[in-house]
Amino acid sequence: MKLLPASVVIVVFSTLLFAVNDSNLPETITDVATIVDKANIMAYYQGKDGKAKVEMTITDKKGQTRNREFIILRKDIEDGGDQKYYVYFLKPADVRKMVFMVHKHADINKDDDRWLYLPGLDLVKRIAASDKRTSFVGSDFLYEDVSGRNLAEDAHELIETNDKYYVVRNVPERPDTVEFSSFNVWIDRKTFIPMKMEFYDSKNKLYRIIESQKVEPIEVKEGERIQKFPTVVKSVVSDLSTGSKTEMEFTDVAYNINLEDIFTERYLRRPPREAQR
């Protein structure tokens, strides 16, 4: 019997091993803080900056729809910490070229700074931003859904670990500041992307659901390497109490685009190229 060369044996074995490993589940994490930290980074802090075109369709209970379209630019000051957002509106026509800018603060005692630029008046407006749980541009998404809810706002508990998800229950530390009593998040065990969120009201009745309906890998250059960032490209929120629904679709997604500090009055008054073209 002819013996296979040792190297071939090793290659075959390692491939088998790898394959077996791959089909298996990744290592199980039991620390809930690690899970929610990773999920927070995946949902809001991938790359050092990012860009996307967002199309929003709001459908009320009668089936009437309204559309919003905007370019969103983001830059992280620190992973899991402060961030800056720049939103340049394309539709509807009456808000075209309006700009909304946020300097988000991770410190829960510090309100975010928000600005609005109204092009018709050439007016830079500062907006008071104490309530983050108000509707974003009249949709079923709230400001906090778009820019992320601070992890320190909730107590987290890992209530289930199954083949696909970590299920985390979140109870607000300051219940008087929010309209829900708790919410559960289904976090994908492989990607750590939050795939579903269910919100319960004060009577423990489910009234609001956010689902990540489509996740795509986006190619990103990190130094010399090409990496793929799994990214939610379609997200839907359903408000069961009002019968209203909002779909958000992301196109032209890009990461690490080397955004300068465009989050200033200069670029409020005149958008950067990244927002316009």
Partner: protein, 425 residues
């Protein structure tokens, strides 16, 4: 004289920067200008009536159709925009064209922005109260119930902005004085101090407006910096009172005397809301001593404001504003038609805005109230977005006053209600 020198400086800046940005002209530029063209605008019908009889004005306060066309395009090195309104005006019984914007914008260097042409300009921290913003206003449009956007009249100017770590600098040069679209009596009746009574279409104000190109110019400067999201700014202006600030010796024409303004402002988070402070010294340059009763006195102007979210989609804002005359005794002694002003004009404004029905319905009330003049001006407005393109609105301009000569009191008979429908595309 000084004005003349300023204009030379500004022209030199242009001569040196433009060639560096305007690279080789070629036919492909024209092609891309067309292929990048973006066309938008709106069509609007607006009608309003006076609720009180005004013997000097028509009953219709506003009755017009308006088509706005907004064209924008760009090349590698610049953005271009032209926006104009065609208005069929039944009050004036004429068709009018109002060119709102026509400008070129470019970023020739990392540290510089340049915007040249007809443009809308705004700075300062006040909400519908202006101290250091000396760009032209259209008070007539504001009072008859046009969209708030029309409070800002366009400037024909060049704006140079320079940016650095130390601070940012804006210089706005207007080669020919752009006055306010002020209350002349044509659409709004007013207190005429020469006649000693209210007047309107029977006594439309004639003005002697400075209009020499590059001589009767204006320059406005702002230095600003954001420090930990507190926005600090210093301002200076050299030009003219934007609405008539006096009259000639024979009292036949209203004039726009020289005006210099120096000021400062700050805006930022205060508690749960946004606070702002602004100050301005108005130097009435043609009457430094305050002895000429025909020309506005020098003034100090001060503003303090605060706004906060007081409920879901419900915001409230409040401002206190004062105008303080600096040479009051001289003014008092020299005033020809008796005393018409207090030394201090105090003004309080309150803004309430509530959004309802998924933010498609906006209810707002803006109130000006002067305890010293004993007058008030209320601006209630309801706007509903029927669809993404179609909006309907209704509102009113309500004036109160104990005296016929005070700032808002003189407009009592112009109280009006209006309604409008706008289709945006």
């Amino acid at each position: 004289m000084i004005r003349y020198k300023w204009s030379i400086v500004v022209i030199l800046v242009f001569v040196f920067t433009l060639p560096s940005v305007a690279q080789e002209d070629d036919a492909s530029d024209l092609n891309s200008l067309f292929s990048n063209l973006d066309v938008h605008g709106f069509y609007e019908i607006r009608s309003g009536y006076r609720t009180r009889k005004d013997k000097y004005e028509k009953d219709m306060s506003v009755m017009e159709q308006r088509l706005q066309i907004d064209l924008s395009s760009y090349l590698d090195w610049a953005d271009f925009k032209v926006k104009g309104d065609i208005i069929g005006d039944l009050v004036e019984e004429q068709v009018d064209f109002d060119l709102r914007e026509a400008y070129m914008f470019t970023r020739p260097y990392d540290f510089m922005d340049l915007k040249v042409g007809r443009q809308t300009l705004t700075w300062g921290t006040g909400d519908l109260v202006f101290i250091n913003d000396l760009f032209p206003k259209d008070w007539q449009s504001f009072f008859i119930g046009r969209d708030t956007e029309y409070l800002k009249a366009p400037s024909d100017a060049a704006k140079i902005s320079l940016f650095s770590e130390l601070g940012n600098l804006d210089i706005v040069y207007t080669p020919q004085f752009d006055a306010d679209r002020f209350i002349s009596g044509r659409r709004i009746s007013y207190w005429n101090s020469n006649l000693g009574r209210l007047a309107g279409r029977d006594a439309i104000q004639h003005t002697d407006k400075p209009d020499r190109w590059l001589r009767d110019d204006e320059i406005a400067v702002r230095i600003y910096k954001n420090i930990n999201n507190y926005e600090w700014a210093l301002y200076a202006y050299r030009g003219y009172w934007k609405s008539p600030g006096g009259q000639n010796a024979s009292a036949t024409q209203a004039i726009f005397p020289d005006l210099n303004v120096y000021g400062a402002s700050v805006r930022g988070n205060v508690g749960k809301g946004i606070g702002n402070l602004e100050f301005g010294y108005y130097e009435s340059d043609d009457d430094q001593s305050g002895e000429n009763g025909n020309i506005n006195n020098s003034e100090l102007r001060f503003l303090a404001g605060y706004s906060q979210e007081i409920g879901r989609d419900f915001t409230a804002g409040m401002q206190y504003y004062v105008e303080h005359m600096l040479d009051y005794s001289q003014h008092k002694n020299s005033s020809p038609s008796g005393l018409t002003h207090d030394r201090n004009r105090h003004l309080i404004t309150v803004r309430l805005t509530k959004l309802l029905m998924n933010q498609n319905l906006r209810c707002s009330l803006f109130t000006y109230f002067s305890p010293s003049d004993k007058d008030a001006y209320l601006r209630p407005n309801i706007n509903y977005k029927v669809t993404d393109n179609l909006a309907v609105e209704a509102g009113a301009n309500i004036f109160f006053g104990d005296y016929p000569s005070t700032f808002f009191g003189q407009f009592r008979n112009n109280t009006n209600i209006y309604t409008a429908l706008r289709y945006s595309f």
